[in-house]
Subunit: 341 residues, 2 copies
């Protein structure tokens, strides 16, 4: 049983009020008394009990981070950024995934209404997900990553995917003179996929290029599925001089590897680009031309917003937009030739 505030008080020969005061740097405590208390705290290796404190203060200094999954470089980076910033601001982070199962729903509400966390950062990547509905009933402040929840007041940080995606499309069409672009996305209901696909359609349209629905694929963001698709289509694609616009780097990697398997050279015969600029982008050969998305900044920014709101609950909701931008490497050919870094 760890020492309580009372033990400290007794040892220092003061009342618990005084101990509490020196802990919280409240009022002024006489120098001598404070020293005495501090010594007692040292000697007893005393730490205030979080629960008692939480009960009084109604706050825990714990933040929740709820992601669709914990897998892969993408989420990994978000967690990292969020964790770092949270510690910097004196908070602890609790990470959860609202994974495929309906269990996500439960986790989310548990984490939030329990009163355990002071606030949460949620990433909602499916449009119309259950999580969104649950969020509407959440009582603590929350910030939404990469999305919005209607009719609920909250901060959010979004990526200007549109911009990056358009830049990419323009690069393909204008710099690379692409005529035939294939879009390989995640699930149809995935917000990022929706955005990126919209940019695809728009840009094609503006460039007066035809969009064939058979050139639009919806996979699940995984390397494996993309590899399988690639295995099947890569020859056909190469034959039509296609440019493959994958909605994340992993799928781009899968397709490139499928091409290699079939002895089709990238970017010689087939061009592939990715999205996110995760570390995978530099681990493929050729390295990926992709769109850089500042993942760890997203995490950090969200935490920062959340903490600000915790301090000033009345602040008007903010929406921070982070920019994405094109990163040209070799996977779709380059202006200067294939060897440019």
């Amino acid at each position: 049983m760890p020492a309580s505030i009372e033990d400290v008080a007794k040892r220092a020969n003061v009342s618990i009020s005084t101990v509490s005061r020196v802990l919280n740097r409240r009022n002024i405590v006489n120098d001598k008394t404070r020293k005495r208390v501090e010594v007692a705290i040292m000697e007893l290796n005393y730490r205030p009990n979080v629960f008692a404190r939480g009960l009084m203060l109604q706050q825990s200094n714990i933040l929740g981070l709820v992601l669709p999954d914990l897998h892969g470089e993408f989420y990994s980076e978000i967690i990292r950024g969020a964790n770092l910033k949270a510690h910097e601001l004196g908070y602890q982070l609790m990470v959860s995934s609202v994974g495929g199962k309906n269990d996500g729903h439960a986790v989310l509400s548990a984490v939030s209404s329990h009163g355990l966390v002071d606030g949460i950062v949620v990433m909602v990547s499916e449009i119309d997900s259950k999580a969104k509905k649950t969020l509407a009933g959440v009582t603590v402040p929350f910030v939404v990553l990469d999305g919005q929840v209607e009719r609920v007041k909250h901060d959010s940080v979004v990526i200007d995917q549109r911009h990056g995606a358009e830049e990419m499309m323009k690069h393909l069409i204008e710099d690379r003179a692409a005529k035939h672009i294939v879009f390989v996305g995640g699930h149809k209901t995935n917000i990022d996929t929706i955005d990126r696909l919209a940019a695809y359609r728009d840009t094609m349209h503006k460039a007066s290029l035809p969009v064939h629905e058979k050139d639009i694929y919806h996979l699940d963001y995984s390397y494996e599925k993309a590899f399988d698709l690639g295995n099947e289509k890569v020859k056909e694609w190469a034959a039509s001089d296609a440019y493959i616009f994958a909605a994340n780097d992993e799928m781009a990697a899968g397709i490139i590897d499928a091409a290699i398997e079939k002895d089709i050279s990238v970017p010689g015969e087939l061009h592939v680009v990715g999205f996110d600029d995760t570390r995978i982008a530099i681990m493929t050969r050729p390295r990926l031309t992709t769109v850089h998305v500042p993942m760890s900044s997203m995490g950090a920014q969200a935490v920062e917003l959340l903490c600000q709101r915790l301090q000033d609950p009345e602040r008007t909701p903010m929406k921070v937009t982070l920019h994405s931008n094109l990163v040209v490497r070799e996977s779709c050919g380059s202006k200067e030739g294939a060897s440019v870094r």
Copy 2:
């Protein structure tokens, strides 16, 4: 302000004791009464306050997971496994990194002695790290991942790296007839590196192969550093028909890519193998021959051990050993030829 147990009691026209009883399924509460209380709970959307509960019960149902870093597939998988198991057992997970900074020390002790968490899972990958010393003073149960702490009673889950590493070395020497094997590890003080290097030395010795110190490199497990090293050495290595034993998949990938850059074919002219069997292993071309390490099982197992200990604090400490095993793919040539999957 969320509803309290008292609000429920009033609404159901009973005392708080009764409400508490139905919450904890204690004693027997009359059916009718219980229904009434349950209805009130529903209507008020009541959730017991974690702090109050924690204060009474001296437990939070929160587990801490402290890793050296949160970056990369390796840790990502551990987190995933741990998180899943924790939820399964009714716990929440709090993830921290004890990163390079001395801040890790602080985090660790904060997390533990604060009384916030019921127990922690720590991964200590540096021998003689500060964290280890801190652990000795930790008051809650903890389980150590991939290591041991002297003179302190605790459970642990370790990987039998030795076995996998030896299997790999034997494969190289016996099946592939390697004569010259280069070891590329992480920091000298990293436990995994130490283990793997030991296996390297032993097996070399047993096979009467000479170990040259210049064939042993200590990097930092990163793709980039390995890529740089590769750029410098790859030609020399290829010339001497070397086999590169990288201590993780990322470094193996870096070296392979450096080879490709220099137009040296893998596994034709240079042979490279990795360790861990992360998803990176199947994303390189050629795909990596590596040692499979059950990362998510590690996380899950650790959580399970921790929970068992929480239930029975007197149980004698256990050490669970997980096995690693060789996975042969193409990066060092294969028995059946280069195209085997």
